[in-house]
């Protein structure tokens, strides 16, 4: 689609390479803003986000290992003490140290989120690829299923699925995977269909590439960047889901202190004035979401599409079936 417009503007000047369209004032402004952002703010912000993520992950992994504390050890004598040197994040109502407990909570939440996001990307990739490769009726039905799943707000669907399966770590992972695979499926399908319409790909088929070669040299590199970004964007979202479902009592059981469990306990402890019981998990939750999302700022544009805009246009044009070879 894009190539059409570029060639149309160049019919008077027969240059060997088609000149890009003259940028409008808006696009120039956006361009300038984009460049300025990339030169000044973005890399610094992104590095800060990466550093923050590493710091948080390090905290989540190392603290429970290095600080030998019995997590479930209850000591009402030091219950609800405010943050101090011996308890940097304070203690909860039962006297459990929140610095260690929050680290464990962050670790559980991150693990659940990673597993859930991975599951969603895997299911989405398989479904999307199957739709694109099989084509025809399978494709139509597959896409109807995607529409159907998308037709329900995913938090609502997640609540129902979690209420059927009962709260556990596996439930959280399943809920995230079951409700979030559709975007990846659409993405993979559109990418593969667009690829099927490309001349170089048809040339490769004509040259007698085997399926494995086609997959390895054309499909996989094209998809890898996209899938990485999709996965990266899903992780903070999944952290968010874990905490919400657990907060509602549908997620992890109370003896596994994920961020959602800690937030729930923190809200209860607020009534007795222990604000720090809520502050630690809440701050960690916001920090990890911001940092994870910040790592990916601008990555969507740079990763893997090979500068091919209009996915959907390409996808439609690619429904010829030749890519099935």
């Amino acid at each position: 689609m894009r190539s059409e417009t570029t060639t149309r503007t160049t019919d008077r000047t027969p240059a060997p390479t088609p000149a890009p369209r003259r940028p409008t004032r808006a696009s120039r402004r956006r361009l300038r803003a984009g460049q300025a952002g990339r030169q000044a703010g973005r890399p610094a912000g992104r590095w800060a986000a990466v550093a923050g993520t590493l710091l948080l992950v390090g905290y989540a992994v190392l603290v429970p290992l290095l600080v030998p504390v019995d997590l479930d050890h209850v000591d009402y004598g030091i219950g609800a003490t405010a943050p101090s040197w011996s308890h940097p994040f304070g203690t909860d109502l039962a006297g459990r140290d929140l610095f260690v407990r929050s680290a464990v909570g962050l670790r559980i939440s991150l693990l659940a989120a990673l597993a859930g996001a991975l599951g969603a990307v895997v299911v989405g990739t398989l479904t999307g690829a199957a739709c694109a490769l099989l084509g025809g009726r399978a494709d139509r039905w597959g896409m109807r299923v995607v529409d159907g799943v998308n037709a329900v707000p995913h938090l609502l669907l997640g609540i129902v699925v979690a209420s059927v399966l009962r709260g556990s770590f596996v439930t959280i992972v399943l809920v995230v995977a079951v409700t979030h695979w559709t975007q990846t499926a659409r993405l993979v399908r559109a990418e593969l269909l667009a690829l099927g319409a490309q001349d170089f790909y048809r040339a490769a088929i004509a040259l007698g590439f085997t399926r494995r070669q086609l997959l390895r040299h054309h499909a996989a590199p094209r998809l890898a960047g996209q899938l990485a970004v999709a996965f990266g964007l899903l992780v903070p979202h999944a952290v968010w889901h874990e905490s919400t479902l657990t907060f509602l009592g549908l997620g992890l059981p109370p003896h596994r202190p994920s961020l959602g469990v800690l937030l729930d306990l923190g809200q209860q402890a607020l009534l007795s004035g222990a604000w720090w019981t809520l502050a630690a998990p809440a701050g960690l939750l916001v920090a990890i979401t911001v940092c994870l999302a910040g790592c990916l700022v601008g990555a969507g544009a740079g990763g893997g599409t090979g500068g091919d805009g209009g996915h959907h246009g390409g996808g439609r044009a690619g429904r010829t079936g030749e890519h099935r070879a």
Binding site: V164, T244, L248, L285
Partner: protein, 333 residues
């Protein structure tokens, strides 16, 4: 003609999606280990009584037949009977839906105001635009329920400006036709009650609105940026219109399209988010109903709420599509 066909197509899609939704719920009901017989008769019922109940409830029929029964019930507005309240689920939902509706409509209003403020202030580079943007961004990375709790800490506990829970300070102060307390109070000529209801509504609505506001605002902003450079805007300026008039008459109307469809999407998310917010603010709506139904595996109630909210979501997206077609006739073609 083309428009009629467009609308007919959207309605057909709506019907298909509702069917898919009912199928999903039916399958979930099948795989859940909740036993309707045990829930209605109790754990100590005799074997014969259980068998009789199974037969009476049609649980021994083959699955396709039960699915058809289920869909037939949905079509006639029969969502089954709640195991917990022993009332028809449709009646229960009728009782709780107005509160959720009021919350979501309030949140939608707040979200639209914030979205327009966000988009216009950042396009026109007003002073303080960065602050609005930063606050909204930070808010949108925070889960809704956490925003609610933080809001409670600030405005209820520390400042004491707003109430913490429920819809009214004086329960049952008004009883009106719409079920929306603010409207009912105004209709009954009780402005004090309406103000009280608004105060109760403000904090949960705000917590619910922040995320959607950013999504809608972003789409609106990019629409505005594109439209501001269009030739017809230059013409409008050249013929001497004031900047405000140019914005209101020419720019806004041509930029709302994407924002409109985003609003339809976000409305659905707000209904889901309302379920969470209601549990923070003890808001007596569908979320509280669902929250009470989940621990006892009251599946008819859970499925009923999900179906109704899903249907509202699908319908609001259809309405957004049709409205878009009305605002921009090119879409139907």
């Amino acid at each position: 003609m083309a428009r009629l066909r467009f609308i007919a197509g959207r309605l057909a899609a709506l019907a298909v999606l509702l069917l898919v939704l009912s199928l999903v719920l039916f399958v979930l009901q099948e795989v859940s280990d909740a036993d309707p017989v045990a829930s209605t008769l109790g754990a100590n019922a005799s074997q014969e009584a259980r068998e009789a109940a199974r037969e009476r409830m049609g649980l021994n029929d083959p699955a396709p037949e039960r699915y058809l029964d289920y869909v037939g019930g949905l079509v006639t507005g029969d969502l089954g009977t709640s195991f917990r309240t022993r009332h028809p689920v449709a009646d229960d939902i009728g009782t709780y839906l107005p509160a959720t509706l009021e919350l979501v409509l309030g949140a939608l209003l707040v979200a639209l105001v914030l979205a327009v403020a966000f988009a216009v202030s950042s396009v026109l580079r007003w002073r303080g635009a960065g602050l609005v943007r930063g606050l909204l961004f930070l808010g949108s990375t925070t889960p809704t329920f956490l925003l609610g709790i933080l809001g409670l800490m600030l405005f209820y506990r520390d400042l004491g400006w707003l109430p913490a829970s429920g819809r009214l300070s004086d329960r049952g102060a008004v009883d009106g036709p719409t079920g929306l307390v603010v409207l009912d109070a105004l209709l009954a000529g009780q402005p004090a009650v309406a103000v009280d209801a608004l105060q109760h509504l403000l904090l949960p609505a705000l917590a619910l609105a922040v995320g959607p506001a950013l999504s809608i605002g972003r789409v609106l902003r990019s629409g505005l940026v594109t439209t501001l450079d269009a030739d017809f805007v230059r013409t409008a300026r050249a013929k001497g219109l004031t900047e405000r008039r140019v914005l209101a008459r020419h720019v806004m109307r041509n930029s709302v399209n994407g924002a409109l469809s985003m609003t339809g999407l976000q409305l659905g998310f707000m209904f889901a988010g309302a379920l969470v917010i209601e549990s923070v603010f003890s808001w007596p709506g569908l979320g509280s109903y669902l929250g009470a139904s989940i621990p006892v595996s009251d599946f008819p109630a859970i499925a009923g709420v999900t179906f109704v909210l899903g249907a509202i979501y699908i319908a609001s997206n259809t309405v957004a599509d049709v409205l878009q077609g009305a605002a921009d006739p090119r879409i139907a073609l």
